[in-house]
Symmetry: C2
Subunit: 327 residues, 2 copies
Amino acid sequence: MSRWAIGIDLGGTAIKAAAVGEERGIVISSSNLTDTASGPAGIVRQLAAIIADLYRSASLTNEPGDFAGVGLGVPGAVNAEQGTLSYPPNLPGWTIFPLRDELQLCLKEQEALSMTAFLDNDANAAAFGEAVYGAGRQFRDFLMVTLGTGVGGGIVLNRKIYRGANGTAGEVGFMIIDFEGSSVHAGIRGTLESLVGKKQMVELARRMIEASPSDSSVGILCGHDYTRLSPRHLERAALEGDEVSLAVWQRVGSILGVGLANVAALMDIRKFVIGGGISAAGSLIFEPALAQLKMSTLPSMHEGLELVPALLGNKAGIHGAAALCFG
Amino acid sequence: MSRWAIGIDLGGTAIKAAAVGEERGIVISSSNLTDTASGPAGIVRQLAAIIADLYRSASLTNEPGDFAGVGLGVPGAVNAEQGTLSYPPNLPGWTIFPLRDELQLCLKEQEALSMTAFLDNDANAAAFGEAVYGAGRQFRDFLMVTLGTGVGGGIVLNRKIYRGANGTAGEVGFMIIDFEGSSVHAGIRGTLESLVGKKQMVELARRMIEASPSDSSVGILCGHDYTRLSPRHLERAALEGDEVSLAVWQRVGSILGVGLANVAALMDIRKFVIGGGISAAGSLIFEPALAQLKMSTLPSMHEGLELVPALLGNKAGIHGAAALCFG
């Protein structure tokens, strides 16, 4: 037996999908722009069509009898048991929607396909993808942090997603590490996300460049137009030895380390898988993060502390969504 | 069948012990000064004698056949599986000690008693005591916070203690909420414990009283000797309407609320049982804590947020230790 499933990463911009073999990983994949204009019903129809296409293509080389279902990682609060998605911030017009049941119904009526659907939020799906296929395979318990526009998190305990009583666990970006600070995100002061999201990082860099007496090579890289400044510029400049850029990474890494220290203290989690665009900077961010993590925890918590880069990039969500079906 | 057990709360000052009925709670109890002078072996002998005494008294009215064992809540890092206690800060001269096995052996050799011993750290034992016999009975998942000299924590998930992979989970006092602040505890900057322990609270009060233009009635309560100032004085003064004291409680409650917000964001825990000396101030601390907790979390996390006072006082540990035997 060689089970396979379809994994979907439903985003506000694109729907990424793949047929995934339990052992082999991704077999076929597709990517489509999300049809946000027609609301939940429109997206359900679009999803059903994408799933049907993939299913039919993959069925040519995969036994339909080994098909385990379709899993979806979705951008919002999920009740995994009830199969509902609540208020996805990037999908306008949605409230609380029974996505699992509506999708199963549409697959049946529109595509004559009976299949079981599984739902989880995108951060949990990405963490589970790394747990089953990626950097988390070596860990029983870990936290996955995605450093991108925002700071996402997913917790894996005993190789399963830890969702919490209401399904909102893992919001590492909303941990407060600077409660009297000046940074605010989503109305909350001093959260990790208010300090190390992509925008905050660029803003920090701009302030540090302006305050620096020496010329930073970042200026040249972004054509002295700081509205174009990106983490990629800061990465290149730092690798060329630019001191301001190095200091920016040092600070972003340290702040991340403080956040991880809170996870270590509260949950006794000592393994961290770091993904997302900003994490591509590698040791520029990993080294200060690990150093700070050690400084910010008791010596009795140091054994086994480890930060590793995520392995699946933006395909972690598809992998994890499919893996929901093998559970 | 009516099971019973012996629960022990081993502290640096006293050994509190009780025979506890699974349904009836404490049947007989005792308290002895801890014999710290003779090191681990001396304490093991002392524990065995205390346990034997209690066992023999309780056996007169409880069926020996229903006896479930002896549970111990101990002040340090515990490996519950191996039954070891590591580096208890308040027991000088201890390193890593196989307390469970040594105690079982001593009970047999010294007292001719064969019984199974169970070990957990004192914060976990207190949380489990509240879970089984106290304020946590109504909750499946909760965090117990003990606000005393330090800030202790124990996590209950699905009515069981959550210990983490290495047994150090629940260290809520070591969560960092002010990473650039001036307060430091155990070498770590900006931890919750560095901000709301008893000493820190008194220090905050002294600073606020000195900075206040008006006379605070706290001065009268402590005879203007601020070295004698205690949370109890601040409680009395606040209840009499003293503005500085009210502001101190407001601030301590708010800081606690920030810490709890981190637990809600990360673990999706929304129920909090608050114990320890400082918590006796009741709504003086509970109201600002809950208000801040709501301000510091996303609206999607507000449903079901609840802070309740612990019910078992300094007997939570004994109850929880005994309950370890009924697991």
